[in-house]
């Protein structure tokens, strides 16, 4: 695949992500404004961070005027799941891919972009990543901007509908491999069931969503790896 085709493919897959991002970052923009940030600051924050939970938590810390150290720790804990995702992504890159690409791919390793990149068949073409980032990241920034300048441009119904865009995209990523592999289908079902239990059961529901993802990933992906090891040729 050449650069151009990969980039264009990435841009197409980036559209649902951008739409979903706008719905979320719109809310972020409103909250950023309430926390006293200017439109420029809010958009800069969105463009440089490109993460949802971390940014919302960050606003709380800014409002509380807490220390920079506290800010760093909060971000580390909330965003630690990206570490696991980057580990997985490291194996999707061809060893012949020039090293510098990793610095740019890392910037865009969000939950959603990781989702589409890691579940693509074969090795990851860096320009596919760039295509997704080129559409998704402006969507995230633009939504933030809209949220700051006016809390009422998007009606509630539209926001609500866009609210499922990202989940729809996740489903589009996990369903086809579940169809062709019973093991993956099992992993998906067990993960969803476990996630439900962790959301509803007292005590377990005290665990933050970031740690829930890490914990369940270690347990379920670890269990699946022990029970159903993937032969070298399949693991791509």
């Amino acid at each position: 695949m050449n650069h151009k085709t990969a980039f264009r493919q990435g841009m197409t897959d980036g559209i649902p992500i951008a739409l979903g991002y706008m719905a979320v970052s719109f809310t972020f923009g409103i909250m950023a404004k309430n926390a006293g940030l200017t439109a420029f600051q809010a958009v800069l924050l969105s463009l440089t961070n490109l993460t949802s939970a971390g940014q919302f938590a960050g606003l709380g810390i800014i409002t509380a005027s807490a220390s920079y150290i506290e800010m760093a720790f909060t971000q580390l804990i909330i965003n630690l799941r990206y570490c696991l995702m980057s580990c997985a992504l490291s194996q999707k890159l061809d060893q012949r891919t020039p090293f510098f690409h990793r610095f740019f791919i890392a910037y865009g390793n969000t939950d959603e972009i990781f989702g589409v990149c890691s579940c693509k068949e074969g090795k990851l073409h860096p320009f596919y990543s760039y295509g997704v980032i080129a559409v998704a990241s402006p969507g995230w920034a633009f939504g933030t901007f809209l949220g700051v300048i006016s809390g009422s441009i998007l009606p509630g119904r539209v926001l609500s509908a866009l609210g499922v865009a990202l989940y729809g995209m996740f489903i589009a990523v996990i369903v086809p491999p579940s169809k062709s592999s019973r093991i993956i289908a099992g992993v998906v079902l067990v993960s969803m069931a476990a996630s439900l239990i962790f959301t509803w059961l007292p005590l377990l529901n005290q665990i933050s969503s970031g740690f829930r993802i890490i914990l369940l990933t270690l347990l379920i992906a670890g269990g699946a790896a022990a029970l159903f090891p993937v032969r070298t040729n399949d693991a791509q």
Partner: protein, 101 residues
């Protein structure tokens, strides 16, 4: 003591970027260990599943529209729809159900 907003933004962006960058730069070689390879192979399916469900059920204004969006997304994805098709179908389903309810 008042804090500078730009330093806050810098700290946030720096920490988040490093978490994403370090594993990508440290793990440069293909991992040979079958267990770790298999583990990393399963990681995206678990993370995406955990993030989707049950969070999708509370992503809209009411449970029914969310369930409709969820069901339609699975159906369209099962039929082999592209990312954008599945995502758009889910959004439209939510919108229509909320118009009716």
């Amino acid at each position: 003591m008042s804090h500078n907003i730009y330093i806050y933004i810098f700290v946030m962006a720096g920490v988040t970027y490093l978490i994403r960058l370090l594993p990508l730069t440290f793990i440069r070689k293909e991992i040979k260990n079958t267990f770790i390879r298999s583990f990393l192979y399963y990681v995206p399916y678990v993370t995406l599943s955990v993030m989707t469900f049950p969070a999708i059920l509370s992503a809209t204004q009411n449970l029914w529209s969310a369930l409709a969006g969820f069901a339609i997304a699975i159906l369209v994805a099962w039929k082999g729809g592209s990312l954008i098709k599945v995502s758009a179908a889910a959004c439209v389903a939510v919108f229509l159900v909320e118009l009716i309810l």
